[in-house]
């Protein structure tokens, strides 16, 4: 095997510029995938730790209504039914007075699970018992205390709604794991009693955690209708479920980077094999078998992949720091509060990305390697034969491309809602396209040749590209695919943003929105404040809102309670359902509106009914209409307050919308309200415009990561085209030397090379447009629909297309620089002599 390894490595070393570019290409692919994987993984771990809370992972959770559940039920479970593996939790938010940092208050019973096996840390436990003794005492991690600028022990001034309170941090929460420390960074642990007092929720528990599987089975029979038992893993699982689509999308994008990277390897290997056909023939003559030839080529690919792995791993780990910030921020913006500071890098993650990268590289090399074994051991052969073979295959490839497209269509047709299938179809679309590129390229080049037929350089350039079709088509295809991804993703994001903007315009009609700040309380915005707001002379009308979250296995249901009138009801853009009828059902019969995403995920339509856990057991609610909403991919249910209070006995209001008189100045009113009433009550107000801007800013942040991936993909593609074109041009050294000999000037030759590069780039750019358009359609109406359940109106803007064209021509020109420099400086005679 040694001579083959040696030959493989020497051949890579000899073509070092191409080798380096290939390594960069495959390495970038691995890096992008690795970074995405690490970010996803770190985020997942962080929310697992976050959801673990204090008592370890719960088997199940007992939940009540919007205001939690009665603590008496807990006592009954312990005293009357002897259920022991349960623990109470009281949770809420407070704000540190000086810094305004939001603090999550978690009230627990340190004695509830006191079994020797549970308590592993004496120090932690002794501190926990003090919590019971002093209700104002709390524990927090040393990190958290440092963030708030206090020593342990030390006191904290808090604001909870409009109340002020002081707690004493008496001990440090022990932390075993860094990811866990992050999860606890904004947490203060108190006794249940202390937390109830601080958060003003006497008699109530946020939930009961069930730690024993046997208990959780028994409990089902013991629960009154107002309470629900949900699987305990669901906290982490819910988080995982909620972000699943988001993460799949990221992974798919990272796979795209790998595919482009693999294209680069393919490209390199194809050219490497083509260049060495003669050498391979010699080897075959000397008695080298076909498997040995195959092995030699594969060893080359493996060496490229190995170097790519090293580079990709290093770069990927570095990149993951940046991507993690983006992923975390998006999760925070869209899903739930999550803090992750350091990427969690597991061997498994490293292995996975590297394996995919290596397999992609080997897969890409397989075809050229196979091709190499077909080289017949003759004492002579001719190149034109090869080119004519390539040309004869164009039609077959194009036909295969159509077949692959048909497969894509079939996948979409058969798979109902699977996101993965959606991406499979998308990749088929790309693959099919790649197969049709050579044929399209030939037609395009012939067209260009006619256009440029007046110029001898134009004829030579187009002719040169066509003559070395076996090499050029790969490079053009790689660039076209990468550019089309840019175009497709760009159109998708642009359309999405336009849709969101339109939606915000109709959804946000009030002039000022008042909501609770970080110090959310269970009391919400008190009736006194609402009355005072109504009395403001500038205020024409006030509507109130209340967000209620119901945890279900693997998901969270968000209910938005409003007291809208017929006028503001029109803020909801109905997708399905007629507005007059919907209003009548909503207002009078207690029917609900569901968002598009909600309707999609649960397969609901107008007239269907859905269930919600009310205080008297499961209630059925008719769907009055489906409305457009991009607020949450989990979907939202809207109910009229009158009906909500009937079912839940919950008068709390947590947001208020103010409609002003036509002549009123919202800025002036804000300036008047904010420092006074609102600040004292811990409320915040935003103008319509500020809220819209905030929403769009969040939108843009959400797609920042997509932008980064897109950029990386383009970089990989440019690397690919540069490498491919450079190789092609270098190979034609003899031809160029001949041109120089027949009197073409240096400048002329450089112009020719640059022209060829630009032409190939342009071809790729033009070809990328239709695929980009198709991709955007799939992304919008398949991927987004299946992932998030919403529909987006396609909005085309010429900039996406122009960008692709400019980028492609620029890439072609850049690719021609190196060969142009080399060709024009090389001595003509030497160029002629060397083959």
């Amino acid at each position: 095997m040694m001579p083959f390894v040696r030959m493989a490595l020497r051949s890579l070393a000899r073509r070092w510029p191409q080798t380096i570019l290939s390594v960069i290409g495959i390495g970038l692919g691995i890096a992008v995938m690795l970074a995405i994987d690490i970010s996803n993984d770190s985020a997942r771990r962080a929310f697992e730790f976050a959801s673990e809370g204090m008592g370890g992972q719960a088997e199940a959770i007992i939940l009540g209504g919007p205001r939690g559940l009665d603590e008496d039920f807990y006592r009954q479970l312990r005293l009357r039914h002897g259920v022991r593996g349960i623990s109470p939790v009281v949770e809420g938010w407070a704000e540190e007075s000086a810094t305004g940092i939001a603090l999550k208050i978690v009230g627990i019973d340190p004695l509830a699970l006191s079994q020797p096996t549970r308590q592993q840390d004496a120090r932690g436990w002794s501190a926990l018992t003090e919590l019971v003794a002093r209700p104002e005492s709390a524990l927090m991690t040393a990190d958290a205390a440092r963030t708030l600028g206090i020593e342990i022990p030390g006191d904290l001034e808090l604001r909870v709604g409009n109340r002020r309170a002081r707690i004493a941090v008496v001990g440090a929460l022990p932390v075993q794991h860094e990811a866990r420390a992050n999860a606890l960074r904004n947490v203060a642990v108190m006794d249940v009693g202390g937390a109830q007092t601080l958060l003003a929720m006497p008699g109530r528990l946020s939930r009961i955690e069930v730690h024993d599987a046997n208990d959780s089975r028994r409990l089902t029979a013991l629960l009154p209708p107002s309470l629900r038992l949900v699987p305990g893993l669901s906290q982490a699982q819910t988080m995982r479920q909620m972000t699943r689509s988001f993460r799949i999308n990221l992974t798919a994008l990272s796979l795209l980077a790998v595919v482009i990277g693999a294209f680069l390897v393919y490209n390199t290997m194809v050219i490497s094999v083509l260049q060495r056909r003669e050498q391979i023939a010699t080897l075959r003559t000397l008695g080298v078998t076909r498997p040995e030839i195959l092995a030699t080529i594969m060893i080359e690919a493996l060496a490229l992949a190995a170097a790519g792995m090293v580079f990709g791993t290093l770069f990927g780990v570095w990149l993951s720091h940046a991507l993690l910030q983006l992923v975390t921020r998006t999760i925070n913006d869209l899903y739930f509060s999550l803090q992750v500071t350091a990427p969690a890098i597991s061997n498994w993650t490293l292995a996975k990305s590297n394996a995919v990268g290596v397999l992609a590289a080997l897969g890409a090399a397989a075809a050229p390697a196979w091709e190499a074994t077909r080289v017949s051991p003759r004492l002579a052969f001719c190149r034109s034969h090869l080119e004519s073979t390539t040309r004869s295959w164009l039609g077959r490839w194009a036909a295969a491309g159509l077949v692959v497209w048909a497969v894509a269509a079939a996948i979409l047709w058969v798979s109902d809602r699977s996101i993965v299938a959606g991406f499979a179809a998308l990749f088929c679309l790309i693959a099919g396209f790649a197969l049709t590129v050579p044929m399209s390229m030939v037609s395009l080049m012939r067209g260009m040749r006619r256009l440029l037929s007046d110029s001898p350089y134009g004829r030579i350039a187009t002719g040169g590209i066509l003559a070395s079709l076996s090499r050029t088509h790969v490079a053009v295809t790689a660039l076209a695919v990468a550019l089309s991804a840019t175009v497709g993703v760009g159109i998708m994001i642009g359309s999405f943003r336009t849709s969101v903007n339109t939606w915000l315009g109709s959804y946000l009609r009030a002039d000022i929105y008042v909501s609770q700040g970080t110090g959310r309380t269970n009391d919400g915005i008190t009736p006194a404040i609402i009355a005072a707001l109504r009395k403001e002379p500038a205020v024409r009308a006030v509507t109130t809102g209340r967000w209620v979250r119901f945890t279900e296995p693997g998901r969270i249901l968000r209910l938005f309670v409003v007291d809208v009138d017929r006028y503001s009801f029109e803020n909801f853009q109905l997708r399905k359902g007629e507005v007059t009828q919907a209003w009548q059902r909503f207002n009078e019969r207690g029917a609900v509106l569901v968002s598009e995403a909600f309707a999609y995920h649960r397969g609901l339509s107008v007239g269907d009914s859905m269930s919600l856990p009310t205080r008297s057991g499961t209630g059925r609610f008719e769907v009055a209409a489906v409305f457009r909403d991009y607020g949450s991919d989990q979907g939202t249910v809207v109910m009229h307050r009158r009906h909500y209070e009937r079912h839940w006995d919950d008068p709390v209001v947590d947001s208020v919308a103010l409609y002003l008189r036509p002549d009123a100045d919202s800025q002036a009113l804000l300036a008047h309200l904010e420092p006074g009433m609102l600040k004292q009550s811990g409320l915040q107000a935003r103008s319509n415009r500020a809220l819209r801007e905030l929403s769009l800013a969040i939108f843009d942040r959400t797609f920042a990561i997509t932008g980064v991936l897109r950029l990386l993909t383009v970089i990989i593609a440019v690397v690919a085209i540069v490498s491919a074109l450079a190789a092609i041009q270098l190979e034609r050294a003899r031809e160029f030397a001949m041109l120089r000999a027949t009197g073409v000037t240096r400048r002329g030759l450089a112009g020719l090379l640059m022209g060829e590069g630009a032409l190939m780039g342009l071809a790729a750019g033009i070809l990328s447009l239709p695929l980009g358009l198709m991709m955007s359609m799939v992304l919008i109406s398949v991927i987004n629909r299946r992932s998030f359940g919403w529909t987006i109106d396609m909005a085309l803007s010429p900039e996406h297309f122009l960008t692709a064209l400019l980028l492609s021509v620029a890439a072609g020109l850049v690719a021609a620089v190196y060969p142009a420099l080399r060709m024009t400086s090389a001595l003509t005679a030497e160029g002629l002599r060397h083959e």
Binding site: E71, L79, P116, A122, S126, G193
Partner: protein
């Protein structure tokens, strides 16, 4: 007996596995200090009133209700059992909050079952708090509970201060007790009318009374098997605030029920260095229920054998000879089962014993319970 620091230790060391690890907060900080400031103290005799005094005395730092007994099933199998509820105040006053959870009273309960015939000893431990009614003790009607481990007064035809009829219901992990207890004698007040001194220096004392003989019937369940049992139990109730003296390392306590319907309670508080400085005290209860204190010169306790726990490595005394010369009695005390060690959050030995001996030359037998604390190195 003087178990006050025991409870404190238990609540701190409930973490169990490694009691040597120093707490992040000192014991004193956590429990409001060894300081007894603010608590009521047992310094002078009080007027006991029943059933009122069966209930909790939350202004004192420590309190316990202690049931032990020897039982026999219809098939002759013998059992010993223990059910103890410890109360520990972590602050002199309850916190003023709107939450029913907040409390200064913590509770700890131990149950144990010695299956003598099977040679098997099982026990369980629980913690809870006085808040939200999760644990507590009330006097009228008498009720002591920690979650579903409960002792309830049985309804009685007439109201009588001396009557003590209770039902113990406790379902542990591996066994369950359902026992009904009834007194035949009035409560016996130890020491000076219930003020029980714990050392020669004044001030270290507790209020302490016992029901020394409670006729007991009920069932014991282990796994799927239950046995109907009957026998005799002993009930101690004691409360105090002051701590053990520095020099005292632990105690040996004896509850002896003789077949002639008399009972003897003895304890020895062991001095760390010098056994001649041990503090001994006791009570003799005659068949009518009349209690006579026993001073340290009225009896002697000699250790006749030792046992090394294979589980903890702790060496405990395992046989005794007790002499009460003025009453003409020599008693030999032997454990019915060697291993009745409680490896709970604090370690001690609490076990059923068998008594034989002579009174004025006539053979006499009996049974009882012995408690040995302060032997484990961790304590």
């Amino acid at each position: 007996m003087n178990k006050r620091w025991l409870v404190a230790t238990a609540l701190i060391a409930a973490c169990g596995s490694d009691p040597q690890v120093p707490p992040a907060l000192s014991v004193s900080a956590m429990l409001g200090g060894d300081s007894t400031a603010g608590y009521a103290r047992a310094t002078r005799p009080r007027r006991f009133e029943f059933p009122r005094d069966h209930g909790a005395h939350p202004r004192y730092k420590h309190e316990w209700w202690y049931f032990t007994g020897n039982l026999i099933a219809g098939d002759g199998r013998r059992y010993g059992y223990q059910f103890t509820l410890f109360r520990h105040a972590v602050a002199p006053q309850p916190p003023t909050t709107v939450s029913r959870w907040s409390t200064n009273q913590l509770y700890l309960a131990h149950v144990a079952l010695a299956d003598i015939s099977a040679g098997r000893f099982r026990y369980d431990e629980r913690f809870s708090r006085g808040g939200l009614g999760l644990a507590g003790v009330t006097a009228q009607p008498f009720r002591a509970w920690l979650e579903d481990w409960q002792i309830d007064e049985l309804p009685s035809q007439q109201q009588c201060g001396q009557c003590f009829r209770v039902r113990i219901l406790a379902s542990a992990r591996t066994f369950a007790l359902d026992l009904s207890l009834q007194n035949s004698k009035p409560p016996g007040l130890h020491g000076n009318n219930g003020l029980s001194a714990k050392s020669r220096t004044a001030g270290n004392a507790s209020y302490y009374y016992s029901h020394t003989r409670l006729d007991t019937r009920g069932t014991i369940r282990q796994g799927g098997n239950s046995s109907t049992v009957r026998g005799s139990s002993w009930f101690d109730h004691e409360w105090s605030t002051s701590a053990l003296e520095q020099e005292q390392s632990g105690w040996d306590w004896f509850a002896i029920q003789l077949e002639d319907a008399t009972e003897i309670m003895l304890y020895r508080l062991r001095h760390r260095g010098d056994s001649s400085l041990d503090y001994l005290y006791g009570s003799y209860i005659d068949a009518e229920g009349s209690l006579t204190p026993l001073d340290e010169d009225e009896f002697a306790i000699r250790v006749d054998g030792r046992w090394r726990s294979p589980r903890s490595g702790t060496v405990y005394p395992a046989a005794w000879r007790i002499n009460l010369p003025q009453r003409g009695m020599t008693l030999t005390v032997r454990p019915r089962l060697a291993d009745q060690e409680m490896l709970t959050s604090f370690r001690y030995w609490e076990g059923a014993v068998e008594i034989s001996g002579k009174r004025h030359g006539t053979a006499i037998a009996g049974e009882g319970y012995v408690e040995l604390t302060g032997y484990a190195s961790g304590n």
